[in-house]
């Protein structure tokens, strides 16, 4: 435990020096504030409180931004150590690869948590300041925070797996961007196209829901939108997914971090320093 903490402290300090903490917090804060400002205009008469609407907008933002931020922080974690030549030495210490990986993981997740809480917090503060009823949206906000962290944890771990498999930071960065594009953008487009082509057949009813659940980003979106009362503000896939029970999407987002960490550890164990 103390070794995990030691690795985590060192990793956090490095991220602080490299301005990653600042960049992550600024990025989340900026996007949240822009969304809060943009989202506030048309909602005056929707009926939902201002915060719930903001949470719905934040959800659609988080699906893109949280995985991106997570991958940006993690793609260098192992490949960078291999390239700098710092890995062989640390692996001769009485510390297991799992402990090293968990050390990095807690540091990166901590930074993400900081960014998410500051970002969402600013947006929430803006909503509450302008709408007294907005307090009603607090549970939705809290839910968004912890699910964002589960989503982020998944992609941080996936980033480690990529980093270990690629061995070189450049290749790892390329793979991370590709993965983000496929899992976050193209996956939904592909599913949408398949649903349209299927025209309400057995694919749409039997296979499609499971494919949505299989992707952590989609499961995250499903869970938050289904659990939120402001689904009206959301568009796209959520409509089609109204039938998926939240227990299913919750299971998916809760299991993904463990699966991804397992994958990352397996890949890291294959790295020969």
């Amino acid at each position: 435990m103390s070794r995990i903490l030691a690795a985590s402290t060192a990793e956090f300090r490095i991220a602080l020096r490299n301005r990653w903490v600042t960049i992550a917090v600024l990025m989340m804060a900026l996007f949240s504030l822009v969304l809060a400002a943009a989202g506030s205009a048309p909602t005056g008469d929707v009926g939902a409180d201002r915060l719930s609407v903001t949470v719905a907008s934040l959800t659609s933002l988080a699906v893109y931004l949280v995985p991106l931020l997570a991958l940006l922080m993690s793609f260098d974690a192992i490949a960078g150590e291999v390239e700098r030549g710092t890995l062989p030495l640390v692996l001769t210490y009485p510390v297991s690869r799992a402990e090293l990986l968990l050390g990095k993981f807690t540091a990166h997740l901590g930074i993400l948590a900081l960014a998410v809480i500051v970002g969402y917090g600013l947006a929430a503060a803006a909503a509450i300041a302008t709408d007294a009823r907005a307090i009603a949206g607090i549970p939705a906000l809290v839910r968004l925070v912890w699910t964002s962290l589960l989503l982020g944890a998944t992609f941080i771990a996936i980033g480690y797996a990529i980093s270990a498999l690629a061995r070189r930071p450049g290749a790892a960065a390329g793979l991370a961007v590709l993965l983000w594009l496929v899992m976050i953008v193209l996956y939904d487009l592909g599913l949408l196209a398949a649903v349209v082509a299927d025209g309400g057949g057995s694919f749409t009813t039997d296979v499609f829901p499971w494919l949505l659940l299989a992707n952590p980003a989609d499961a995250f979106r499903l869970f938050n939108l289904a659990a939120s009362e402001a689904t009206a503000a959301a568009a796209g896939i959520s409509g089609a997914a109204g039938t998926i029970p939240t227990a299913h999407s919750l299971t998916s987002i809760a299991l993904w971090p463990f699966a991804a960490l397992g994958l990352a550890l397996a890949a890291f164990r294959k790295v020969t320093p």
């Binding site: 103390s2 070794r3 903490l5 030691a6 690795a7 402290t9 060192a10 300090r13 490095i14 020096r17 490299n18 700098r84 030549g85 710092t86 062989p88 030495l89 640390v90 692996l91 001769t92 210490y93 009485p94 510390v95 020969t272 320093p273």
Partner: protein
């Protein structure tokens, strides 16, 4: 019990045989130098000892345990060749990290840095350090806790002569305390008198494992006699002694150890033609070349 025992260690990378049937031991308190050209297998051997690589064949015991096991890693300290650290951390932070990984109190970091002469730079980022300073950080981390086996891969590369001497003084103290030391180098001159035994690898084969004095005897390299002739008589001296002329006055002779006195007698017999005689025993570089160079086929 030996601190380190290697027996018929063999390792190949694809078709390249990095190590073939290498066997030797290092006892507690013994300093063993591992010599060889680049690519002779020194680093591979060290990585196998550390458990970073697995040998294809052969047995190895590190402090009575399997290499890479927790017991072996706890008692072993390593200094890699061209040691690297994260450039964003300061020397102090880096050492505090390593101390905590070994379960030691991070407060010892500043003492360790002082011991290797880095106290003043402790709060500077390692990115600003010179190669020699990074090497000192590497040495400092190898001194953490009470290692019983030190594995040092070209530890003095990048160190100036004064720092080298300080470095070997530290090693001497550790060996006196019973720490087994395996260090690699590619210069025999450097490890002379600073190590107890020399192991030479050539193309992954162990070609020598002995003390320097014994290696010198085994190599049986010829002694060089440099005879300085009086001006004008060099040609005659060369002819009479059947030696080769080096320049205007010097005649070069090679002879085996046992012939030395007889040859000196020959030279003395020439009397007035000779101005001076210089006896040059085989240099350390000659001995090293003798063992480390591939026999001409």
């Amino acid at each position: 019990m030996q601190s380190l025992t290697l027996s018929t260690i063999t390792k190949a990378f694809g078709a390249v045989r990095a190590l073939t049937d290498v066997s030797f031991t290092v006892a507690p308190g013994e300093r063993v130098a591992l010599l060889g050209h680049n690519g002779a297998g020194k680093s591979t051997l060290m990585k196998i000892v550390l458990g970073l690589l697995r040998a294809d064949r052969g047995q190895i015991t590190v402090l009575g345990a399997v290499p890479g096991s927790n017991a072996a890693r706890t008692g072993t300290a390593y200094l890699p060749e061209n040691v690297a650290f994260h450039p964003s951390l300061t020397g102090l932070e880096q050492l505090r990290y390593y101390l905590r990984l070994r379960g030691e109190t991070p407060a010892k970091a500043i003492d360790l840095l002082e011991r290797v002469g880095l106290k003043d730079a402790a709060r500077r980022r390692i990115g600003t350090y010179s190669k020699g300073m990074r090497q000192r950080v590497g040495l400092a981390q190898a001194l953490i806790g009470t290692p019983r086996l030190l594995v040092l891969d070209e530890p003095t590369s990048g160190l100036d002569p004064v720092s080298r001497r300080e470095f070997y003084t530290i090693l001497e103290g550790l060996a006196a305390d019973g720490v087994a030391i395996l260090l690699s180098s590619h210069a025999l001159t450097e490890v002379e008198a600073k190590t107890d035994r020399i192991v030479i690898l050539r193309d992954g084969l162990l070609v020598a494992d002995d003390t320097l004095a014994n290696l010198r005897r085994k190599a049986a390299l010829p002694i060089r006699l440099q005879v300085a002739a009086r001006p004008g008589s060099a040609d005659e001296v060369a002819k009479k002694l059947a030696g080769g002329r080096r320049n205007g006055v010097v005649v070069d002779l090679l002879c085996q150890h046992d012939d030395k006195l007889a040859r000196l007698g020959d030279i003395a017999a020439l009397g007035a033609m000779i101005e001076d005689v210089e006896i040059l025993p085989p240099s350390l570089e000659d001995i090293y070349s003798h063992f480390s160079q591939r026999p001409a086929s």
